[in-house]
């Protein structure tokens, strides 16, 4: 995300992105699925997540999770993260993500698939007096016109502690793979719009209003972009998750990257459904 720059694409492209989102949302009401608003996942609505994978034998479909970054110089960065999470084993999920990015700059724009991510999350335990602990890992493959050329591997650890007044989450992750250099910045940006950083660490807090099926969350995290010479970026965000029906949840968030090279406001919106594996 930090490396996005616009290149030669038609301005009408953003309408297509909106059409895709609208299509996703219209299909939402017809789908028969369930999503637990209490179980946060990356980007829904904030970057950090809890140490709880989707349920065993569940399939969670995030059809239209969209994010819009208000970058400098009137540039807008849209990203759509259609993803499927499968509860393949007890306390273990497999996740597939096919991000689609669209950059809308004053003069030019670009769009396309921005990589293919395959990841897993495994909860080591269920929370008792010991906090909930989870480990995860994944690879980001260079797929699509904005998917870059390198493969990145990521490992992460998550801790969740629940108190009567709130839940606290700590996330840390490290990504292995080639760094990009500042002198070929434009080239790499044109080719790679993936959301990756060398390392990321942060904390989040959420408060649930059980009788209203509503969760409110906030986070702050630091990340080191993949570019060698870039400075650490601090971000803060807040958001809500709301259960619309037993099968359908929605989320929305807003955040700000307030240090680093690409300071920007961003908003997120998503909806998800879950099905069972028969």
């Amino acid at each position: 995300m930090a490396c996005v720059r616009p290149v030669n694409v038609r301005r009408s492209g953003w309408r297509r992105v909106l059409s895709i989102i609208a299509l996703g949302l219209s299909g939402a009401s017809a789908l028969r699925a369930q999503t637990d608003y209490y179980n946060t996942s990356p980007g829904r609505p904030v970057r950090l997540e809890d140490a709880v994978p989707v349920e065993y034998r569940a399939v969670e479909l995030n059809v239209a999770p969209v994010r819009l970054d208000f970058l400098s110089q009137d540039t807008r960065f849209w990203s759509l993260h259609p993803e499927a999470s499968l509860g393949i084993l007890p306390r273990t999920q497999l996740q597939l993500v096919l991000p689609i990015a669209y950059v809308d700059a004053p003069a030019t724009s670009t769009r396309g698939v921005a990589g293919l991510e395959v990841s897993f999350l495994h909860a080591l335990n269920m929370e008792t007096s010991i906090p909930a602990l989870a480990v995860g890992g994944g690879i980001s493959l260079p797929v699509g016109p904005l998917g870059g050329e390198a493969t990145y591997g990521t490992v992460k650890g998550i801790v969740t502690r629940t108190y009567p007044w709130a839940r606290l989450h700590a996330n840390a992750q490290f990504t292995a793979g080639p760094s990009t250099r500042s002198d070929d910045l434009d080239t790499s940006i044109e080719q790679d719009a993936r959301d990756a950083s060398r390392w990321l660490a942060g904390v989040a807090i959420d408060k649930t209003f059980a009788l209203h099926s509503l969760l409110v969350t906030a986070e702050t995290f630091a990340e080191q972009p993949l570019r060698d010479d870039s400075s650490v970026a601090w971000s803060a965000a807040t958001g809500v998750r709301y259960q619309l029906s037993p099968r359908w949840a929605m989320d929305a968030g807003v955040g700000r990257r307030f240090t680093g090279d690409d300071r920007a406001w961003y908003v997120t919106f998503g909806s998800a459904y879950a099905l069972g594996i028969r």
């Binding site: 028969r32 369930q34 637990d36 608003y37 209490y38 349920e55 065993y56 034998r57 569940a58 509860g87 007890p90 306390r91 909860a123 335990n125 269920m126 929370e127 008792t128 007096s129 010991i130 629940t162 108190y163 009567p164 649930t208 059980a210 009788l211 099926s213 259960q243 029906s245 037993p246 099968r247 879950a274 099905l275 069972g276 594996i277 028969r278």
Partner: protein
């Protein structure tokens, strides 16, 4: 000197190892690998919610009641009984049950400390509640035939039992397991009103199956479910006077359901007994908090296994009857009695006159209670202990002639057979208007004022 150093070093290593083991043992005891599993994916998912929204919403409110009970008992052990008996009870009955939540609740948000104390027990309950809801779904789905429903329930039970660590036993347990322990009865003695509320919940949770299973049409199922919900709300008036005074048992409250699906009925009774046991453990001030997890896990294991305190299915049914269905809140749907038949006929304007007992028909296993009707007509009523017994007799009859296929019976007027639940009736008349009148009076069990 050197050997002394080695000895000291070895001693240090031994002591350190011992300390490490001692330090990790409590940690290991707290390490839980319980997990959530998604409900069985099927076309009938959430049908109960669609077709019976009022009852479905009540179950969402029940989630809160169970959760706040455990959390309060665990985190406020010295609170006065009024904390639950008044404060929470009033909130639940005056607000939550009046306008129940629209969705199932995330209980771990309400019972935060309890969920962390024994996630295994919480998962056990949640898994059984999933079974509860999915059986409702199957019987609420009007697209399914009875055979298909039975098949779906069988598959569902298989799915439930596949999680051995989260599934309750299908073998009935004796009452000693619930009422014969050192901690037993603590909760109900200290919190009679809240205990009555929980038992009223459990009455409705199992009682709803009866009208779903016995209703022959969508309308009769709807009215039966509504009647059960009304009965539940009546229990909360003037508490605890109208509340159950013994634990509702599925075999007594929902006998038809229990006969059809005995294993599931037993699971629910084990679940509800388990609820009471955990309440007792949490309410027992002599069990320190540090020991409650182990005590609960011990109890959970005994309700999960197929060996501890097992009794027979026949004994389980007898126990349910002996405890007294009226003390449990009553049967979920009224059953026929001779008095009810007479009242129905009278209400229909038929004016029945009971006749003295006569000999038993050779093709029926019980004698009839006969009523003379105006104009020389007659209705013979057979009231059985249950539907299964009635079906044993009526299934052998040619219903058009009201006689066994290989037998010729000479009736003094045209006979016709009416069957409903545990009752069979033979209407003997040549007056078709009268026949319709009697048939209508005896057809629908779920009529107002039958209770």
């Amino acid at each position: 000197m050197s050997s002394h150093r080695i000895t000291v070093r070895r001693l240090t290593v031994c002591v350190s190892t011992l300390l490490a083991i001692l330090a990790t043992r409590p940690l290991l005891a707290q390490w839980s690998t319980a997990y959530h599993q998604f409900y069985r994916q099927a076309s009938h998912n959430w049908e109960f919610r669609h077709n019976y929204p009022a009852a479905d919403r009540l179950f969402n409110a029940f989630d809160y009641g169970h959760a706040i009970l455990y959390e309060t008992l665990l985190t406020e052990p010295t609170a006065p009984p009024s904390r639950l008996e008044q404060q929470e009870y009033d909130f639940i009955t005056k607000r939550l049950l009046v306008k129940p939540p629209r969705l199932p609740l995330e209980e771990s948000v309400i019972e935060v400390e309890y969920a962390k104390l024994v996630p295994e027990a919480k998962e056990l309950f949640e898994w059984a509640h999933v079974l509860h809801r999915q059986v409702y779904d199957i019987w609420a789905d009007e697209r399914l035939s009875e055979e298909r429903r039975d098949r779906e329930v069988r598959d569902l039970l298989k799915y439930y039992l596949a999680r051995r660590r989260a599934a309750l036993s299908t073998r009935p347990k004796d009452m000693h397991l619930m009422e014969g322990q050192s901690y037993s009865l603590n909760f109900r003695r200290r919190y009679p009103k809240f205990n009555g509320l929980i038992w009223a919940y459990h009455w409705l949770q199992v009682g709803l199956y009866e009208p779903l299973v016995t209703g022959k049409t969508r309308k009769s199922r709807q009215s039966g479910v509504n009647a059960a919900v009304t009965r539940f709300r009546e229990m909360l008036v003037d508490p605890p006077r109208r509340m159950p005074t013994v634990m509702p048992m599925t075999a007594a409250v929902a006998p038809e359901f229990s006969r059809r699906y005995p294993e599931i009925a037993i699971i629910f009774d084990n679940l509800h007994a388990m609820h009471d046991v955990i309440s007792d453990i949490l309410a027992d001030g002599t069990i320190p908090r540090s020991e409650k997890r182990a005590e609960i896990l011990h109890a959970v294991a005994r309700y999960r296994d197929d060996t501890s305190s097992v009794t027979t299915v026949a004994e389980w049914r007898d126990m349910a009857e002996e405890m007294g269905v009226e003390q449990m809140g009553g049967r979920a749907t009224p059953t026929w009695s001779a008095a009810l038949v007479e009242r129905r006929l009278r209400d229909a304007g038929v004016d029945p006159r009971p006749l003295p007992a006569s000999g038993r028909h050779i093709f029926m296993s019980i004698p009839a209670q006969s009523f003379a009707l105006p104009g020389g007509d007659e209705v013979q009523v057979f009231v059985y202990p249950d539907t299964a017994s009635r079906a044993l007799d009526t299934s052998k009859l040619d219903t058009a002639r009201v006689a066994p296929p290989n037998m010729m019976i000479k009736w003094r007027a045209q006979p016709s057979l009416v069957i409903d639940g545990n009752m069979a009736a033979i209407i003997i008349t040549n007056d078709e208007a009268r026949r319709r009148q009697v048939r209508d009076a005896l057809s629908a069990l779920e009529k107002p004022n039958d209770r």
